[in-house]
Structure formats: C-alpha cells, structure tokens
Amino acid sequence: MSIDTPTVNATALDPTSAGAARRDILHRLLMTLGPILAALVIAGCILLAVGVDPLAYYGYVLEKGLFSPLGIQQTLTRMAPLLFLAAGLIVAFRAGTWNLGGDGQFLLGAVTAAASAPVFVQLMPAWLALIGSFLIAAVVAMIWSLVPALLRAYQGVNEIITTLMMTFLGTSLANVLVKLVFRDPGTTVPQTRTLPVEDRLPRLFDTTITSGLLLGLAAIIIVHLVMTRTAFGLKLRIVGANPRAAIHAGLGVPGLTIAVFAISAGLAGLAGAVDIIGVQGNVRADWNPAYGLAVIPAVFLARMNGFAAIGFVFLLSVLSIGGESAARRLGVPNHFTLVLVSIVLIVLALAEYVDHRYNQSRKA
C-alpha cells in the first residue's frame, strides 16, 4: 500500500507521455473509487445478513452526514481535528516513520490547551491567548514524542512499538491531569475548566462550523506543499524511501528523524487544541475519541497526498457523523462505521495486489 506517488513532474522527453499521464490519473481514480464501491456492496451484504436494509442505512448516513443542514455543519466541524491529525501522519508516513502515537499526543495537546486557554484569556487579548494555548499544546505533544524519537534516531528502536506504548501512557496521563491537576473545582464531574463560548474559535458566518476547519485545511495544504515542493520535504522523503541513500548523500538522518517526530506530534497536539478551543471547550475525564487511529486509513487511502486526504477525511467525517445517527435509528452498532472503513481498506489492498500482478504479467 505504501506506493510513493511520484510527485515531481518533469517535462517529458517525449510527447506521448502527456496522454500517458492522463491515463495514469484516470487509472488511479478508477483504482480508488472502484474498490470503495465494491466495499459498499460488501458492507451492504453484511447489513442484509444481520437483517438491516442497507439502502436505508446508507440513506440515513447520507441524510444525516451530508444532506441535512445541521448534519453537514457537524461533519465539517468534525473535520478540523481530523485534518490536523492527517497532516501529522502525512509528514510521518512520507518520511517512513510510523507515528502511531497520535491519540496520546492528541489528548495531551487537548488537555494542556483546555488547562491553559481559560487562564490565558483572563490575562491577555483573546487572540493572543488562543495562539498561546495552541503553541503550548504543540510543544507538550512534541515533548511527548521525544522518547520514541530519540530511541529511533540513535538506537534504531522500532517506533511502531514505542509510539503505541507512549500512546497508552499518554491517554492515562491526560486522564490523571484532568482528574488531579486541572480539575474544575466548580463542577462535580471531573473535567477541566470550561472555556466560555465567546472566547472559543469563532464560527464561520451564521453556521455552527468552527473556523478550526480553515486552520486544518491550511495545515494539511502547507504540509503537502512542504513535503512535495521544498528541499526540507525532499530530505524527509529521501530518509523515508531509502535511509542508506540519505546517509550516502550526507543528510543528517538522526536530526531529520527527530524533526519528523516533532512535526508529526506537534500537529497531533494542535489537533487536540483545535478540538478543545474550537468545539468542546473543556476536557472531561476519560474522554478519548480515538481520532488518531481512525485517520490512519484515510491517509493511506489518499496515498499520503494532502489534497486527496482532505477528500477522505471528509468521507470519514460523513461516515462517522452519519453512522452515529444511522446506528441509533436502525439498531446497528456504532462501530459499524469502522467495519465499513476496514472493508474499504482490505478491498483496496486486494485491488492493488491484483493490479500489480497484472502489470507484472503484462511486462513478462
């Protein structure tokens, strides 16, 4: 699945390659949308098997997640933290680093933002306070990623294991912080102090959509451009694609590795902050939406392309908002959304495999 999309478009030496490029895009589109349709059919069969009308299910998902005014606003609001997380994963995956600790970094960012924002707004202008909270959230998440980063950079310890372990510790630590350190004395439920609605990120126009959506879109587009158009991004991609070539070319691999972790974790921390400062206003104890893991498939489906990731994050948002409602109305477990997403992934992987075999046999 980790096909590196050649993002550098050099002028072709021969004129036929313009047509080839168009065919290539068409082929890629077909290879993405075809499996998704197939997955919807398979998931539909599962729904049939458990006695639910798939058309009704998909209908509710679309109605609630996409077509109702309230639903689409919820969907777009949900996208804000997901886009930040996706941006962080794009940096990490393109650099060949498996940062699977997004949830821990997200929650620690959320808790620090929730703890700092209500204090800051009393001390300084609201805009400065929000920027301050964002920065603190990012820095705390970066510090949290330092252990896996140093182990990876200097000892070669597999970051899949370390980031996953750190994510368990991170979620627990976030909980402890909410219950013991940042607990709002004014409420009986353990939660942090609530940021007043007027101090949160402004909403867009007359809707309930958070302006965090724009920040998320900016983040993922900037990340995409940095990774594909700049020298820094290319260095990260070289480290990801062939670490030995990076050493041979004289790149400082340990430093770049640490930078990747810092950026990826920082963006996850910002995701937490944007969800708190934009939408939730506080962190309740035991709150863990597990966005970090849900975003991974979306980033993969997008082949680490920022613009495609926006599309898939939107799809994920529609599915999760619409899925919650459809699940309530039809008595399907809420987690069916995850089943659907995983079927899409499996079918996509199969399609890729078949396509690869087909290409091989055509060459031979």
Partner: protein, 523 residues
C-alpha cells in the same frame, strides 16, 4: 586458459550434470553457459568471489530458481527442478549460508518440520535414524536441546543431519565456513570427508582459497558468471596445496585469451612533480561485527593519476571508500585534499570541495529507486542553488539541467519522470557517473564501477573514467576485477585484511605480483 578442463563427459556415475546453464537477471548475466558435473564420493568446490554467480547456481540446483537456457540432468535424465521440495525429493539437500532452523524449537522438532501435517510426528523413528547416522559420522547431536542454545557449528551439523535424514545424495554447502571458528571449520572438513566416504556428493561453495585446496576433490572456478576453469580430481590429487593455490590464482586472476575487455593501458603523462591532489596518511577505522577495520592506510594520488585498489572482496575496500567520503568514522589518520585536511569535514562539505564517491551499491544507497531520474541527479545537492531557492524546488532549473545530463551521459530513460529503479543497471550507473563527475569534481573514488554491467556499459564506464583522469582529476579505482585495474591504472595497491600490503607500478609482470600480494605472499 580453459585448456585444463575438458567438457564433462556425461559419466553414468554423475548425480547431477549441468549443461550450458544460463541465468539472467535484469541488467546482469548471473550465470553464463555453465557446465558442471557432480559425482558421488567427491567434494566439488565452487570457488569465486562475491557476484561470481555461485549463489545463483545453487539457487538453480536447489529448485529456487529456474535456468533461462541449458539443461540439468539428474541421474542422466533431463529434469526440471521445479521447487525446493522437488529438489529434496530428488535427493538434493542444501545448507544455506544463513541458518534456516527455528531457534525456539528443539533439534528434534526442527528435524521433524516439513513432515505431512496430518500425521503425528514420528519421534521414535527419528531418534533411531539419527542415532544411526551420527554413529557412522562420529558426531553427537543433542536432539532435545533448543537450537538457540547451540553454537553455530553445532547448528550447521543439525542442518547437515537434516539433509541426511531426508536421504540426500547430494549435499550443497553454501559458504558454510563463513560463520564458523577455525576449529569449527576443521570439524566441518572432517565431517565432509566422512560424508563423501559414505558415497555422498558434496558441493562446497566458498571464496577462500585455503579451504578450497584443503577440503576439495575437484575445483570449479567461477568468475563474473562464467566458469573459467576446473581442476579435476586426478590432477587435484597430484598437486600439493601450494601448487593448487597458485593454479587457482592463475584461473581467478589470469589473463584470458579471448577477453574482449582487454585493452592496452594507454600511456598517460602524469606530471611527477605535481603536488598530490589526495594524500591519505595512516587512516584507520575500527572493525565492526560484520566488516573488517582499516589500519594505517597511506597513499597519494597526483592529478591525472589512477590508483587502483586490488584485493579479494570484503577486505576493507568499502570501508576505505566510505571513510574517505566521510560516511564512516575514521579512528585516526589524516586525509588531505589539495593540501587541506578534510578528515573532520562532513560528507556534504567533502563533496563541496570536490571529493566524489561513486558507490558500488547503486540501488541500495546510490539512488532512491522510487524517485524520478531527474531528482536522483541532485540527491547530494538537495537545497542548493540554482535547483532550490529559499528552500523551494525550482522545477524548471532541475529539469533543464537533468535533460542536459541525460544527453551528455547518454542515459537511456523513457522520461525524466521515470523512477530510476526502472532503468537498467548500466543506465543507473550513468546517472551516478553524471552526478559525481559533473561540475567541481577533483578527486573521484570509484567502487567497483563496472560490477554487474554488460560489456558495452562496462567499456563505456571505463572510458568515462579514463577521460576523467585525462581532465586532470585524481582517481581512486577500487575493483575486484584485476583485468580492469591492469587496463586502467597507473599504480595498483593491494588491500588485504584492511591494510595495504603493497603498491606496484603497472608495468610488465604486475599481474603475478598483484596476484601473489592478494593471497598473502610477498611480491
């Protein structure tokens, strides 16, 4: 040469005969029309350096690979060995270079692996069989010990035992001594002798001359995919160890009459008074787990001069190149470029000053296979003007220069966007040549520049290196191909065990001198 061996007459006694077997991989002919006969009661040594085609040959015998041309006869019958399982059924057992036992299981469990899944493992039967075999071979094997608790030598005995339990008639030992202690090697030698006495055939692969002479009954020498000679058993018995070694050296490094690569070394005039461009003094590198270190390496290279480094592969050549390029930490010594010390500088700074290193590992570290050709030209200049400005990629500049390099160095690529990994070995090498030789090069280190290339690309690469020297650059040419060094170098230094054991001017009898230095004799 070649007069030593007659074509193997399809003797009835032969277990396996290869006739004109050829195997090609993209860009490389790994085995070129190889004839081989394997007889019971003989240790048949396959000798050759890394990349000579030994592993490919073994792959075809053990059913992992299929030949592109030629025939394999088993017991005189034309046979296609379709899979490792089929090879086992034919009685061909292979002990691979890397241990293939499950460390968490006991020896007995390992031996029972591969039986039919619906049957209960027949432990008693196995024990009886193992007892019988080990008694006749004079070895002891702890059946109930875990494999992870055994030494490497014991593990190897288990692997051999496994082949015996499966009734192998032909045992292939692939670089079996590479992981063993000297004592383990002697024990393996004794074991092999007992096995052939029982009528087994053994194919023993090695690149060490001493072992070949000590353990073999018959030696076939492979070089760059071709079989360059054979010492048959009758002759083998008649010769002493030293004579055998010198004969092998002649086969491995000797001149071949019909060698199209042989070119008379053109006379270049090197200004002897000119100050050396590269001066290396007492360079040392610490050894690592799998690589020898370097000790007190010293040499000078003047402008326009080509200094060759000869030696059997794995004697520190790569370490030398990497230490000079700055990729590997040197523990001592000095490296001067145009008189300025550079040993403390980074890879990038050394390159900036004109030191270039053309790696032998083209896909492993030289290029990023999935990246387009155009970007691979500039892998070592990421961020530098005019291709990047303020950190932003200047596509037009990159493409313009890349197109220029493609033309200049005759890189055959469908487009600049093509992932470099899709090109043939020769064209990838051209990309590397373009990258290292373009503007500002003063000293160039070539590590095995023609390794794995076809003849046309080999000749083109060599010409490119000669032209580079003619422009007044200093060249360090590391190669395991003596012909190549003889046809290109002004002087040849020989490396053995991480030290330079001698340097000779490239005149008249240099071939024998270098050959003797390579196997540890004084020139």
């Amino acid at each position: 040469m070649g007069s030593l061996s007659s074509l193997p007459d399809a003797d009835k006694r032969d277990i396996v005969v290869l006739e004109g077997v050829t195997k090609r991989f993209p860009g490389i002919v790994a085995n070129d029309s190889i004839d081989l006969s394997i007889r019971p009661g003989e240790v048949h040594v396959l000798l050759g350096e890394n990349g000579a085609g030994k592993s490919t040959l073994i792959g075809m015998l053990s059913g992992v690979l299929q030949p592109d041309e030629g025939r394999i006869l088993v017991d005189g019958k034309l046979t296609q060995i379709t899979s490792p399982r089929h090879a086992l059924a034919l009685g061909i057992g292979t002990v691979f270079q890397h241990m293939m036992l499950v460390p968490a299981l006991t020896v007995a469990e390992n031996l029972l692996l591969g039986g039919p899944w619906w049957q209960r493992p027949r432990t008693e039967e196995l024990e009886a069989r193992v007892a019988e075999i080990t008694r006749s071979l004079g070895i002891t094997v702890k059946l109930h010990a875990k494999v992870s608790e055994l030494s490497l030598g014991e593990q190897q005995q288990v692997e051999i035992l496994r082949a015996m339990v499966r009734n192998s008639r032909l045992l292939i030992l692939d670089e079996s001594t590479s992981m063993l202690t000297p004592k383990g090697i002697d024990e393996l030698g004794t074991l092999m002798r007992r096995l052939v006495e029982q009528g087994l055939a053994i194919v023993f692969i090695t690149h060490k001359l001493k072992e070949a002479a000590a353990f073999g009954d018959r030696i076939s020498v492979l070089k760059l995919g071709r079989k360059v000679g054979e010492i048959p058993s009758e002759r083998f018995r008649a010769l002493g160890e030293q004579e055998i070694i010198s004969e092998i050296v002649e086969l491995m490094f000797g001149k071949q009459k019909d060698d199209p690569e042989a070119v008379e070394c053109p006379i270049r005039t090197i200004c002897v008074e000119a100050a050396p461009l590269l001066q290396v003094a007492d360079l040392a590198v610490a050894p690592t787990d799998n690589a020898p270190g370097l000790s007190s390496i010293s040499f000078d290279i003047r402008p326009g001069e080509i200094l060759g480094i000869a030696g059997i592969d794995g004697n520190g050549q790569k370490q030398l190149a990497e230490a000079l390029a700055g990729q590997r930490v040197a523990t001592g010594g000095s490296v001067r470029l145009e008189g300025t010390a550079i040993e403390m500088l980074s890879v990038g700074e050394r390159r900036q000053r004109g030191l270039r290193y053309l790696t032998d590992d083209r896909l492993g570290e030289g290029t990023v296979a999935t990246f387009p050709v155009s970007i691979n030209f500039f892998l070592k200049q990421v961020g530098a003007a005019p291709f990047w400005r303020n950190g932003f990629e200047q596509r037009a500049e990159i493409d313009k220069r890349a197109a220029q390099l493609v033309r200049e160095y005759d890189v055959r690529t469908p487009s600049l966007k093509t992932p470099v990994g899709r090109l043939s070995g020769g064209n990838i090498q051209k990309v590397l040549l373009a990258r290292e030789l373009a503007e500002g090069a003063k000293v160039v280190i070539f590590n095995k520049p023609t390794y794995g290339l076809d003849l046309a690309n080999t000749l083109a690469s060599r010409q490119r290196i000669r032209d580079t020297a003619a422009r007044g650059l200093a060249i360090l040419l590391i190669s395991t191909d003596l012909e190549e060094l003889l046809s290109m170098c002004d002087r040849i230094a020989v490396i053995a065990n991480g030290a330079l054991v001698g340097t000779v001017e490239n005149v008249d009898d240099v071939r024998t001198k270098v050959g003797r230095l390579m196997i540890g004799l004084a020139a």
